[in-house]
C-alpha cells in the first residue's frame, strides 16, 4: 500500500524529462545572452537566471498557462520562455530588434507577453509588486479563478510599497502569491547587510498572510510546493507569501564584474554543489529515465536550438527610427522633434 502511494507520487518519466529540458534550455539561453552581451549585440542592464532555473520551472509548470497572471522584475527571460513566449522574440528583444516582444524598446529587463499571461519585465526594484496585486484584484473583482504569481528578489522585499501591498492583498483577499526569489544578494549587498531579519518568509505574517520558506534548488520539491500553494490560493482566494532559497551563479547583471567584492570563489564553488540542473540529472539517471548518452543528446539538441534562436534573432532588423513615437498613447503621438 505504502509503496503504491509512493509510486503515485512519483513524477512520470516524460514530466521529469520536460523539467530537465526546460532547465537546460534556460541555462543555455542565458549563456547565449551573455555571449550576445559580450559581442555588443545586447546592451544596457541584463540579468540572467543561471542557478535559479528550478524555481521558475517549478512554478510555471504548476499554473494554468495563458490563464493565470505572472509578473516579475528585470530578471525575466526564464519566466517568459516558460510561459511559451517565442524565444526568438525574447532574444530579439534582448538584442533590441523590431521582432522583439517590445519591438526593441524594452530590452532584457522589459519582456512582456500578455497573451501568455506575462505582464513583465519591470526595472524599478519593488515597483511592480502593487501591479501584481492589481492583476489579482481584477480576478477578485470579476470573480474568475485566476491566480497571480508576483515574483520579487530578496532586495525588493525591503521596499515600502511591498508592505502597503501585502496589507491590501490581505485586506481585500487577493488571489496573489508573493514569491521572494531569495538568491542571497541584492546586487552587491548580501542578505545579512540589507535585511534586519533574514527570514524573509516572516514578512507576510504581520498581515495574516500564510507564509513559508522553501527550497528552490530541487525542481521536484519546488514543483510540489508550487502546486500545493497555487491550488490553495485558487481555492481559498487569498494571498500567500513564499520565500524561496536559491542562488545566482552569474554576476548580478552582465555589467557586474566585481563578484569578488561580495562573495568568495570558495562560496561560489560551495554553492555549485547545489546546482539544480545537476541535481535533476542525477535523479534522471537514478530513476533510469535517461543515461549519460541520452542526456548528452538532449543537451546537444538544446544547444543547437539556442544557436538557431540566436541566429534568427540576430538576422532580424533593427527598429525604424520613426517607430520612436509609437505606442506612447493609444490615440495620439507626443509632440515630435528636438
Amino acid at each position: 500500500m505504502a509503496k503504491q502511494a509512493e509510486k503515485k507520487n512519483l513524477e512520470s518519466p516524460a514530466e521529469l524529462e520536460q523539467y530537465y529540458r526546460d532547465m537546460l534550455f534556460i541555462r543555455h539561453f542565458e549563456e547565449k545572452c551573455n555571449v550576445a552581451y559580450r559581442q555588443g549585440k545586447a546592451g544596457g542592464y541584463m540579468h540572467v537566471y543561471i542557478g535559479m532555473e528550478a524555481l521558475a520551472v517549478g512554478w510555471m509548470h504548476s499554473i494554468k498557462k495563458a490563464h493565470d497572471y505572472v509578473i516579475t522584475a528585470y530578471r525575466d527571460h526564464a519566466h517568459a520562455l516558460l510561459l511559451g513566449t517565442d524565444p526568438v522574440a525574447v532574444m530579439a528583444e534582448i538584442m533590441g530588434r523590431k521582432a522583439g516582444t517590445a519591438g526593441g524598446k524594452g530590452g532584457s529587463m522589459h519582456i512582456y507577453d500578455p497573451k501568455n499571461g506575462f505582464y513583465g519585465g519591470w526595472g524599478i526594484v519593488g515597483g511592480h509588486i502593487p501591479l501584481g496585486a492589481g492583476l489579482a484584484f481584477a480576478s477578485r473583482y470579476r470573480g474568475d479563478d485566476k491566480v497571480t504569481l508576483n515574483f520579487m528578489g530578496d532586495g525588493a522585499a525591503n521596499q515600502g510599497v511591498v508592505y502597503e501591498t501585502l496589507n491590501m492583498a490581505a485586506l481585500y483577499e487577493l488571489p496573489c502569491i508573493f514569491i521572494i526569489e531569495n538568491n542571497e544578494f541584492a546586487m552587491g549587498t548580501r542578505l545579512e547587510y540589507h535585511a534586519a531579519d533574514t527570514e524573509l518568509w516572516k514578512r507576510g505574517t504581520p498581515f495574516g498572510i500564510k507564509s513559508e520558506r522553501i527550497d528552490g534548488m530541487d525542481v521536484l520539491q519546488m514543483k510540489k510546493d508550487a502546486q500545493r500553494i497555487i491550488d490553495w490560493v485558487r481555492k481559498e482566494g487569498k494571498p500567500y507569501l513564499v520565500e524561496i532559497m536559491t542562488y545566482r551563479y552569474a554576476g548580478h547583471g552582465a555589467a557586474d564584474n566585481d563578484r569578488q567584492l561580495y562573495r568568495t570563489k570558495e562560496e561560489e564553488a560551495e554553492n555549485l554543489k547545489r546546482d539544480p540542473v545537476e541535481k535533476l540529472k542525477h535523479i534522471l539517471i537514478e530513476r533510469n529515465i535517461a543515461n549519460e548518452e541520452k542526456l548528452e543528446a538532449i543537451e546537444a539538441e538544446i544547444l543547437e536550438r539556442v544557436e538557431k534562436i540566436y541566429e534568427e534573432a540576430d538576422a532580424s532588423p533593427h527598429p525604424d527610427v520613426d517607430e520612436v513615437y509609437d505606442n506612447i498613447y493609444t490615440d495620439m503621438t507626443p509632440e515630435k522633434g528636438h
Binding site: 524594452g106 529587463m109 522589459h110 526595472g123 521596499q159 546586487m187 533593427h318 528636438h338
Partner: protein, 327 residues
C-alpha cells in the same frame, strides 16, 4: 597658487568627498551598494575600508526610507551625502525630498536647517531604457527650498560638491553617467569651492549663445566647433547651477550675441531649458534678433534600441541643425 592635478570627473568627485569627510566628522555617506560594492559607478571606491560602516552606510533598496532618514539626521545637525544609484530611483523618494526635506526650514519658521546633499547620475547612460534614463534636474529645480547644480567638468564637480556640503540647505548635485570618465584639470586644494549661482563662459563667440549644463555643455562645445567652420561664432554658456540661476551671465551673453539656443537632455516639453528660454524671452526681448531656440530630448520614454536611443538624446548635429534653422 595651488598646484593642479589631472583626473576624471569620478575621481574629482571622490577626492572632494574624501576631503569633506576628513574636514568634518558630521559628514557621512549613505546609499545603495556604495560601501562594500564601491558604488555601481564606482564613485565611492575605497571609502568603506577607509571610513568604515559608521560613515559609509550601505542601505537596503529603500529610497524613500533612506532619503527620509538622512533628512532627519540633517535636521539633527549631521551633514549627509546621499547617493542615488541613479536619479531615476530618486523618484521613489520624491515625497521625502519635496514634501519634507525641501520644507524643513520653511515650516519650522527658520528654526531648523537641513544641510543635506543628494547626488547621483541622471539622464541616459547607454541602453538602460524607459525606467532608468530619467533626467530629474528640472523636476527638482521646480521646487522652492532645494538648490540644484549640474557641473560639467571635473573641476566644477570638485568645487561644487564642497559648496554643497557646506551649504545649510538641501542640495541636489546632478551628475551624468557620460561624464564620469571625462578628464580635466582640478586644483589640488581642499578649500577650493565653486559658488552656486555662477554660470561660466567656456567659449567666447559673437553670433549666438549656446546655453546648457552638465553633459550638454560638451555637446554645445562640439556644435560650436562645427558651426565655427560655417562662419557662425558661438558663445558657450555653461549654466552649472540651475537653482539659483545666474541670469546675469546668461543675459549678458545673449545681449552680446543677440541669439540664444538652450540645449538640454531632458524631455523638451516642460524641461528646465524651457524655463531658461522663457526668462531670456522675457528679459532680453529687445536684444533678440530671433526667437529663443531650444533643443531638448524627444518627448518619449527612453527606448532600449541604441538606434532609437541615440535618436532621442540631443547631440551636436541636432544643435547645429537647430542653429541653422534659427537663421
Amino acid at each position: 597658487m595651488a598646484s593642479t592635478l589631472e583626473m576624471t570627473y569620478r575621481e574629482a568627485l571622490h577626492k572632494s568627498m574624501v576631503e569633506e569627510m576628513d574636514k568634518n566628522a558630521d559628514v557621512f555617506l549613505m546609499g545603495e551598494d556604495i560601501g562594500r560594492y564601491e558604488g555601481t559607478f564606482k564613485v565611492t571606491r575605497g571609502l568603506f575600508p577607509k571610513y568604515g560602516h559608521r560613515r559609509v552606510i550601505d542601505t537596503p533598496i529603500t529610497e524613500a526610507g533612506f532619503a527620509g532618514i538622512a533628512t532627519g539626521a540633517a535636521m539633527a545637525g549631521l551633514r549627509p551625502i546621499v547617493e542615488f544609484m541613479t536619479m531615476s530611483f530618486s523618484i521613489l523618494a520624491l515625497d521625502q525630498i519635496i514634501n519634507h526635506t525641501a520644507k524643513v526650514h520653511y515650516m519650522t519658521n527658520g528654526e531648523v536647517k537641513c544641510p543635506i546633499v543628494f547626488r547621483g547620475p541622471g539622464g541616459a547612460a547607454k541602453q538602460l531604457s524607459a525606467q532608468h534614463s530619467h533626467s530629474m534636474e528640472g523636476w527638482y529645480a521646480h521646487v522652492p527650498g532645494l538648490k540644484v547644480v549640474a557641473p560639467s567638468t571635473p573641476a566644477d564637480v570638485y568645487g561644487m560638491l564642497k559648496t554643497a556640503v557646506d551649504d545649510d540647505n538641501p542640495v541636489i548635485l546632478y551628475e551624468n553617467p557620460g561624464l564620469y570618465a571625462m578628464k580635466g584639470i582640478v586644483p589640488d586644494d581642499p578649500e577650493f569651492k565653486i559658488p552656486f549661482g555662477k554660470a561660466q563662459i567656456l567659449r567666447e563667440g559673437k553670433d549666438l549663445s549656446l546655453i546648457g549644463y552638465s553633459r550638454m555643455t560638451h555637446v554645445n562645445l562640439a556644435a560650436a566647433e562645427i558651426l565655427e567652420k560655417d562662419g557662425i561664432s558661438c558663445e558657450v554658456v555653461d549654466v552649472r547651477s540651475l537653482l539659483p540661476l545666474d541670469t546675469e551671465t546668461i543675459y549678458a551673453s545673449v545681449r552680446k550675441t543677440n541669439r540664444a539656443m538652450v540645449v538640454y537632455e531632458d524631455w523638451r516639453s516642460g524641461g528646465f531649458g524651457a524655463e531658461i528660454a522663457a526668462r531670456i524671452s522675457e528679459d532680453c526681448f529687445d536684444y533678440l534678433d530671433a526667437p529663443v531656440g531650444r533643443v531638448g530630448g524627444l518627448n518619449v520614454p527612453m527606448p532600449y534600441s541604441r538606434i532609437l536611443e541615440l535618436e532621442c538624446i540631443p547631440d551636436e548635429n541636432d544643435v547645429v541643425k537647430a542653429v541653422r534653422k534659427l537663421g
